[in-house]
């Protein structure tokens, strides 16, 4: 044996931190990675811009026969925002952490296990707000106007971001449960029924048959309704329904993600 003392010469001593500190530490790391992941952000931004331009160009004349109460550009801007924020998540990065061993490194620290999840979600929130900016700029460029002013714009982006955050529970649950990047990427498919079986192209009263029925059970319908209401004024009922739908989805998906987190971090 070559050593006689177990006291290292350095004075550095680890100390306990709290949940908020851990969440901020994990979020800082995840946010710092965002600009380095252009391959992820590029397509994520392209899709909503593409759909906004295409939908307006192809459907605005047909929609002229429908009483929307707002322009078709304004009608489509919430759809683009929902596209921009839904499924935008660092769950794929978390899977990479699991695969390359970094997740195990984190697990050997005293970090709060829930902070591992929430820290990534904070980064998601930052990302979806950032992604909303170019979509909003394009919307304004195309003629969208908010009677609710700047506050209405902020509420618009905030509701969209909260919806996006609520939805992230699904990819995180899949990431933590499977540790498989393919499964996480496939989770985007789950978004299609949410995105299209709703009032994405026409108001609820113009939908018919099974689509009308399904759309009444789709939370996206109420999110879109709340967002669209902000173009014409403050409508507490519409905004309330949008928030309620968002919270209901978040409660369900985040329960799934927390259960998956517990399974992944359990040493059993």
């Amino acid at each position: 044996m070559t050593a006689t003392s177990t006291t290292p010469r350095t004075e550095i001593r680890p100390r306990r931190t709290g949940f908020v500190h851990d969440t901020v530490s994990i979020a800082r790391r995840a946010i710092r990675q965002l600009p380095r992941d252009i391959a992820f952000i590029g397509p994520t931004l392209f899709i909503p811009l593409f759909f906004l331009v295409i939908n307006v160009a192809s459907l605005s004349e047909a929609a002229a026969f429908v009483d929307l109460g707002i322009t078709y550009e304004e009608f489509q801007l919430p759809v683009a925002i929902v596209f921009a924020v839904t499924g935008v998540t660092r769950a794929g990065a978390m899977v990479l952490d699991i695969q390359n061993g970094y997740f195990d490194r984190l697990m050997t620290t005293p970090v709060s296990r829930r902070a591992l999840l929430l820290g990534h979600m904070v980064a998601d929130f930052v990302l979806v707000v950032a992604l909303s900016v170019p979509v909003m700029i394009l919307g304004f460029f195309m003629g969208a106007r908010f009677d609710t002013g700047l506050l209405g714009v902020l509420v618009f982006v905030l509701i969209g971001a909260l919806w996006g955050l609520g939805y992230t529970g699904i990819p995180y649950a899949i990431a933590l449960k499977t540790g498989n990047p393919g499964a996480v990427n496939s989770s985007f498919i789950i978004f299609f029924p949410f995105a299209f079986l709703t009032t994405a192209y026409l108001p609820a009263e113009n939908l018919s048959g099974w689509l009308s029925t399904v759309s009444t059970y789709n939370p996206v319908t109420y999110v879109l309704g709340g967002l669209r209401s902000l173009f014409t004024g403050w409508d507490a009922a519409e905004l309330g329904k949008a928030l309620l739908a968002t919270l209901a989805l978040a409660a369900f998906t985040q329960t799934l993600s927390l259960l998956a987190l517990r399974g992944r971090t359990s040493p059993k």
């Binding site: 710092r32 990675q33 697990m107 040493p267």
Partner: protein, 325 residues
């Protein structure tokens, strides 16, 4: 055995099963503070499973374990403050810079910004400081392994677990990791629990070695003690297929040999004086009409110890078992 609180690492009947498969089968070991303990065994022997239990990543299904006197199950959170861990796969995010990885690690252990900066300076001998602000994706295997080691040391742990720290490294990088391991032990008094499948690594680094095979410790002691148990010298005779048992019978009749064992077509003779034993061995086999394909004399290695207690070479076990558990 001492109390759990006196040992840096201690296990009693440590066991882990995965369904019907028993990966670790009742291990008792004790590592003293300031010691380098080498855990030697082939792939699949259970080394990594033991490390994962001792580092709180995996709960035992039987027995108990303590690190720094703390129970790894009941006091897992406290254990994490006193251990540094570098697992088999360097746990690094390639999308981060070396400095970011170290800073994140430091923050999670409650270090302040200035403490993190100081600690990075202290760890400079391990790190490639010029590459510290580059993404890890640009690092060589050796650089990544040293960054992994530095990250494990950020919070100044008292026990460092290194799971196969040099697997996959080229010889120069391996030597540099060895130097760092020795320095950490010598200068900082760090207790090191080191798993390896390399005989030379255990021999070079470890104060004591535990040899694990099929989930059980089959031999334990200092490398010198373990090798002396085989004999001072080893004469190895390779004979034609089917002749080994006959050769053993012949050689057992020679005075001055400590033991004769057969492993396939190889007959291994332990002796106090190998140079004096060579001629009688060759003559006796020749007189008996047994053709000798190879005859060699060497000092015992840990592979001889492994061979002695398991009946197979460590290298053979490594290649046969595939991935480690």
């Amino acid at each position: 055995m001492s109390t759990p609180h006196a040992a840096a690492v201690k296990t009693e009947g440590l066991r882990r099963t995965f369904g019907d498969f028993t990966a670790v089968d009742g291990i008792d070991l004790e590592v003293r503070p300031g010691e380098i303990y080498g855990f030697l065994g082939p792939n699949g022997a259970g080394k990594s499973t033991v490390v994962r239990m001792l580092t709180t990543l995996l709960e035992p299904t039987g027995g108990r374990a303590w690190v720094g006197g703390l129970d790894v199950v009941a006091e897992a959170d406290d254990v994490r403050f006193s251990i540094g861990v570098a697992l088999q796969e360097a746990g690094l995010d390639e999308n981060m810079t070396g400095r970011e990885i170290l800073a994140t690690q430091g923050r999670l252990f409650g270090l302040s910004r200035s403490e993190i900066a100081d600690r990075i300076e202290q760890l400079a001998p391990i790190l490639e400081m010029r590459a510290l602000d580059q993404l890890v994706s640009s690092y060589s295997g050796g650089m990544a392994r040293r960054l992994d080691l530095a990250a494990a040391l950020m919070h100044n742990p008292s026990v460092l677990f290194l799971d196969e720290p040099t697997t996959g490294l080229d010889p120069p990088s391996r030597l540099r990791v060895w130097e760092e391991v020795r320095r950490l032990n010598r200068e900082f008094g760090l207790t090191l629990f080191l798993t390896t499948q390399y005989l030379e690594e255990a021999d070079e680094l470890a104060d004591r070695v535990g040899i694990i095979n099929a989930g059980r410790i089959v031999a334990e002691g200092t490398p010198g003690e373990l090798k002396r148990a085989i004999g001072t010298d080893v004469v190895t005779v390779v004979v034609d297929d089917g002749d080994a048992d006959a050769a053993k019978s012949v050689l057992e009749g020679i005075d001055g040999l400590d033991g004769v064992d057969v492993f396939g077509d190889e007959v291994r003779v332990g002796t106090e004086n190998g140079s004096q034993a060579l001629s009688p061995v060759a003559i006796a086999l020749g007189s008996a009409g047994i053709a000798v394909r190879e005859l060699s004399l060497r000092t015992p290695t840990l592979d001889d110890v492994f061979l002695d207690v398991t009946g197979t070479h460590l290298d053979a076990g490594s290649s046969a078992e595939g991935s480690s558990t």
